[in-house]
């Protein structure tokens, strides 16, 4: 598995494509700016949403139980899963009880996190991802590269090729309208035939026991409303206290994600359809550990809008696949180490700590501060490469000793030419700073 730095280097090797990827996502950031700047109450909304989430997390156990009770009273079967393996087993069991061998699934980053598709396939069940972007990457056997725009790393030529291969569209046709129509016809057949539908959950309301699913395409609903069995999967942090709170979140979500005023569909599932089985699976998978750590608790406020991705100058120039796990970008970099420190040690360092992410986050997650905290925790866990640890100890020693610092400084300046080599990563594409004859302190001494 390539580290973020290695994968990014490969990504950037195609400079024109990197510029295109960067420009495309920056435009999404600009669309977000356009709609946020015309609302005088924007910053107040962010603060309000942040406080609702803070309050919820402070009382998460209570709210989860309240939700469970209300949902059950509504006729929804509530399941709990401690981790991804349990989650996948529960989902499989429900499907197996129905006897289905194929199902439709709308976008759920949680199911990506659990690698649900792979698990179900291993059990002989075919999963049709119905979000257009997800279907495209599913055909290509790739992971989504963005949590809202799964196929943002692909050009229309790429999609045209893929649809030609899997849907029989004419070779060379890259017209988005035509390709979308082909996908509509292809997936419509699956919607009409599916007995089981899996969806994600954007928000679950403790007060009423209902849950909300937001889409632009209508694919979650096309699946769920025709299926005999609807399985909704959600992380425990998706709970919000009251129905009225949805106003705040629905005003922030689409504006932050795509610069739309609201998603086309915001469906409120309260009770199963008559004759339908509705299930909801509540999963922990490390969230309780995150919750218990004051440094990282705030990461659980996330509503998965990806505004942080779109604004991140590093993400835009490295692409989602460089983050080598399901949720990329800034939020992914503070969530992933909680799941696996060793595998994700590089992610909190894939940042300049510029702070742009924290300031577009609709729920005010202090992402850039958590990146800094993760750096400390990961290094304290002994995951630094030996050279780095030694280098840091040396630096600490030199910088604690003024005389040694002054000597070191003058030596570096005197022999700085030595660093003009491609072995010095700085020097690959940049000139080294010109070494002055005197340091400031040396000059000042003579003044």
């Amino acid at each position: 598995m390539l580290s973020h730095a290695e994968a990014s280097e490969n990504f950037i090797a195609d400079a024109a494509r990197t510029d295109w990827h960067d420009e495309t996502l920056w435009l999404v950031r600009e669309k977000r700016d356009k709609v946020s700047k015309v609302l005088p109450e924007w910053e107040a909304l962010r603060e309000h949403a942040s406080q609702i989430k803070d309050h919820t997390l402070a009382n998460l156990g209570e709210y989860l139980q309240a939700f469970e009770a209300k949902a059950q009273a509504n006729g929804i079967t509530v399941h709990w899963a401690a981790d991804a393996a349990e989650h996948n087993a529960i989902v499989h069991e429900i499907i197996a009880a129905q006897g289905s061998k194929i199902l439709v699934k709308s976008k759920s980053m949680l199911t990506e996190e659990c690698h649900l598709n792979d698990y179900l396939v291993s059990k002989g069940i075919e999963v049709i991802d119905t979000d257009l972007g997800e279907r495209i990457v599913q055909f290509r056997n790739e992971a989504p590269s963005h949590i809202v725009l799964p196929a943002i790393h692909l050009k229309k030529e790429d999609v045209g090729e893929t649809f030609h291969q899997f849907l029989g569209t004419p070779k060379g046709n890259k017209d988005p309208q035509f390709l979308t129509e082909a996908a509509r016809q292809h997936l419509r057949g699956h919607f009409l035939a599916s007995e089981v539908a899996i969806t994600g959950v954007n928000f679950a309301i403790a007060e009423t026991g209902e849950f909300v699913v937001c889409t632009n395409e209508g694919n979650a609903d096309m699946g769920a409303h025709l299926a005999k069995v609807h399985i909704a999967c959600m992380g425990i942090e998706k709970i919000i206290p009251k129905r009225a709170d949805l106003a705040v979140f629905l005003r922030l979500l689409a504006r932050s994600a795509t610069g739309q005023l609201i998603t086309t569909y915001s469906s409120h599932f309260h009770q199963p359809r008559e004759g339908q089985e509705m299930h909801i699976v509540l999963i922990d998978n490390g969230r309780t550990r995150q919750l218990a750590d004051p440094k990282y608790k705030n990461s659980l406020k996330c509503i998965r809008c990806a505004a942080c991705f779109n604004t991140c100058p590093v993400y835009r120039r490295s692409g989602g696949h460089s983050y080598h796990q399901p949720v990329a970008g800034p939020i992914g970099s503070i969530l992933a180490p909680n799941i696996d420190k060793k595998a994700n040690v590089d992610l909190p360092f894939a940042s300049t700590l510029c702070g742009s992410c924290s300031n577009v986050c609709p729920v005010k997650i202090n992402i850039h501060e958590q990146l800094w905290f993760w750096r400390q925790d990961l290094m304290a866990a002994g995951l630094a490469p030996a050279a780095k640890s030694i280098g840091m100890k040396l630096m600490a020693f030199v910088l604690s000793n003024p005389a040694i610092y002054r000597l070191g400084g003058s030596l570096i300046r005197r022999f700085s030419g030595v660093l003009n080599t491609r072995l010095n990563p700085w020097y690959k594409q940049r000139e080294m700073p010109v070494a002055p004859k005197e340091s400031f302190q040396e000059w000042y001494k003579k003044r």
Partner: protein, 237 residues
């Protein structure tokens, strides 16, 4: 007013002219400037690399050198932000200022005698902007303000332009500049291109780290565009 000059380590060693300009400017504005001679570094390079636990010696040295000062002023947004957020001494945290911040908020400067009749591109430097609030940021829905532009407006003859994507990061990011070299340079290159589109002769900012990174790329390109720290402009004859 008695002020201690904080000289960031890489300015001390590689860009002494920035500290000279800071010293001269503060004196011109009537400050008694003390330069603690045994200062080394603020500790940020280690802390941002995940080794904040190793900065005790460095922090202690900083405390020793700057004990008793109400105003510790330095020409670096990121170093000052690091001290404000992470230095163990409450007094130190309360007493450090980035130099532009000091000029506008404490000295309340309303005029400067400097001349700089050139077209310059202003680089916002993330830590100074988003961390120290030296100017409003494009992400937020706030009333626009800029302490930097307020000061630059006092300079005779200067023309200040902001690039497209006014406050995008340059890509220096501390050790990021070498650990993620490809992304770092691409970001720096893109910033430079944005300034080039405005045909500026200089790129200026509050952080020499950003400037050093962009200068490295500019010189490798053979560009005629130069970088200068804002304090060099504010102090320009």
């Amino acid at each position: 007013m008695r002020v201690a000059l904080f000289v960031p380590c890489y300015i001390d060693q590689f860009y002494p002219q920035v500290a000279v300009a800071s010293l001269e400017l503060l004196e011109k504005l009537g400050c008694e400037v003390v330069v603690p001679k045994d200062q080394t570094c603020c500790g940020q390079p280690m802390a941002n690399s995940g080794f904040a636990s190793s900065t005790k010696g460095c922090d202690a040295n900083f405390s020793q050198n700057f004990e008793g000062f109400d105003y510790i002023v330095g020409p670096s947004g990121s170093c000052v932000l690091h001290l404000k957020e992470h230095h163990p001494s409450e007094k130190i945290r309360a007493s450090v200022y980035e130099i532009c911040e000091f000029l506008t908020d404490v000295l309340k400067v309303t005029s400067l005698s400097a001349k700089f009749p050139h077209r310059v591109g202003l680089h916002q430097s993330c830590h100074g902007q988003r961390g120290l609030h030296l100017s409003s940021m494009s992400e937020r829905n706030d009333k626009p303000f800029s302490k930097l532009q307020d000061l630059l407006a006092m300079i005779d003859g200067i023309e200040v332009v902001l690039p497209q994507r006014e406050d995008e990061c340059c890509g220096f990011g501390g050790t990021f500049c070498v650990t993620e070299e490809a992304v770092s340079v691409k970001m720096g290159q893109d910033r430079i291109n944005a300034h080039d589109a405005n045909a500026v002769n200089y790129i200026i900012g509050v952080d020499t780290s950003c400037l050093m990174h962009m200068e490295g790329i500019l010189r490798r390109q053979g560009s005629k565009v130069q970088v200068k720290h804002i304090v060099e402009i504010l102090n320009h004859a």
